[in-house]
């Protein structure tokens, strides 16, 4: 799975937790989930759980702690999917 494919799917995961949906149009790898997309930090757990079922992977505590930007998320997901 390449990074673009992961990003396309990741957008769908983020959609329910992004209050201003238009922010998702301008998403890049530098986008910060909390600062740029204004996602409530409490929802990061839900995003991780949704990503786990979408990609059929398991994300542990150490990996989850790193997932702050879109790039971090793709890195973690790519590593698990391609493991």
């Amino acid at each position: 799975m390449d990074r673009q494919a992961i990003l396309d799917e990741l957008k769908k995961v983020l959609l329910p937790y992004t209050e201003n949906k238009e922010l998702l149009n301008g998403i890049t790898e530098d986008t910060d989930l909390l600062k740029d997309l204004k996602i409530n930090s409490a929802n990061l757990v839900d995003i991780i759980i949704d990503a786990e079922s979408k990609y059929n992977i398991e994300i542990d505590f150490d990996s989850a702690e790193k997932m702050m930007t879109v790039r971090d998320c793709i890195n973690v997901i790519a590593e698990k999917v391609n493991a």
């Binding site: 757990v45 759980i49 505590f61």
Partner: protein, 153 residues
Amino acid sequence: MYDDILNLLPYKSSFRFVDHISLLTLDEVRGDYTLRKNAFFYEDHFPGNPVTPGVIITEIMAQIGVVILGLNLIVHGKGEKDISAATNIIPLLYSTEVTFHKMVLPGEKVSVISRKQYFRFNKLKCAVEMYNASEELVAKGIFSGFIKQIEKA
């Protein structure tokens, strides 16, 4: 029963809304609370017509349904690293989505049933229901919260 868990509750006197726990596992909790007729909120909510405020109903559901269950998970080592229930904990709510179905009057006993949806990264999410003594649904909702541990001063 379950006094060890009840003793960990950080709330005191007028803001402690748990009397009794009847069932406690890693997935589910059942408990009850009887509204004190002299509780501080009845005098003003409403003068001459005391009704239990929705925020108090929500707080009872959160204390029994989320905090007790969360403490039990942590006591049993199900939390992420660096968390223990021993000292200086503050339970914080993340979100509640509650609907109210019946009024609760002073002196009524309410029962809370909560079932865990998940406990990940120290966030606990539960489906919580409250019933009155006639087993009528009083309120139901989805709650999530986590337990923050603070450094000892």
